[in-house]
């Protein structure tokens, strides 16, 4: 992402053009700042983030299973 693309992307997520898909997404409740942060990363950095997210989800799922088993 070049500095110009970064600037434009930031403008778009803070002020989505009316009637655009981006505006629709924002109205729907999508947090556009998360998309912006992800787009700043390289694909490999996003892939590493995927691994961290998968690990967190697994830990949450296992903790919920342990909690249910105790009840």
């Amino acid at each position: 992402m070049t500095p110009e693309q970064r600037k434009l992307a930031y403008e778009l997520i803070t002020n989505p053009p009316p009637g655009s898909k981006l505006a629709e997404a924002k109205e729907y409740g999508i947090d556009l700042t998360l998309l912006y942060e992800n787009l700043k990363l390289t694909p490999t950095e996003r892939a590493r983030k995927f691994v961290e997210g998968a690990r967190s989800l697994r830990e949450i799922r296992l903790a919920a299973q342990r909690h249910r088993a105790k009840r």
Partner: protein, 161 residues
């Protein structure tokens, strides 16, 4: 999830595959989280053999299946089935022969793009392809994902990313 190793194992055996699903969404910039890694694979006899060989060292077995259910992820099993949800030493890996809204491997590959992950180019389903697949899947969570993917596509088109 041992993502880099999973991709490397498939690459080293020259398996023809496309990364799809939640992982592809994240690689494309989505904030969606998922625990498994989904692939679409080519159904040619050669590729089926390569896939079986690539995963064999990682003890693939069916996810959420009874422990005593006999299962071998070999070429014959893959040939007789289509979609496999596997637990492996590398993590939860799903292999689909077809993707709703797109079709088989050739159509999925045509809707994918090359992406450099960990220094190697892999085929990853494009935002347009993901939108088609999610629309076809049609579940509530898929339709939620479409909104985010369309927003991402809008940013990419307007910025030239």
């Amino acid at each position: 999830m041992r993502l880099e190793e999973a991709l490397r194992a498939l690459y080293d055996e020259e398996v023809e595959f496309v990364v799809i699903g939640g992982a592809a969404m994240q690689f494309q910039g989505s904030a969606h989280l998922t625990e498994d890694l989904d692939f679409c694979y080519a159904r040619s006899p050669k590729n089926i053999q390569r896939l079986a060989k690539a995963l064999q060292p990682f003890h693939p077995h069916l996810r959420n299946a009874p422990e005593d259910l006999p299962f071998r992820f070999d070429a014959l099993t893959i040939e007789r089935g289509l979609n496999f949800t596997l637990a492996t030493d590398l993590g939860a890996l799903d292999f689909l022969g077809e993707v709703a809204g797109l079709g088989g491997y050739d159509e999925v590959k045509a809707a994918s793009e090359k992406m450099c992950l960990f220094g190697i180019d892999h085929q990853v389903l494009s935002l347009e392809g993901l939108i088609k697949a999610k629309r076809a899947a049609g579940r509530e969570k898929d339709l939620d994902a479409v909104k985010e993917l369309e927003g991402l596509l809008d940013i990419r088109r307007r910025t030239g990313l």
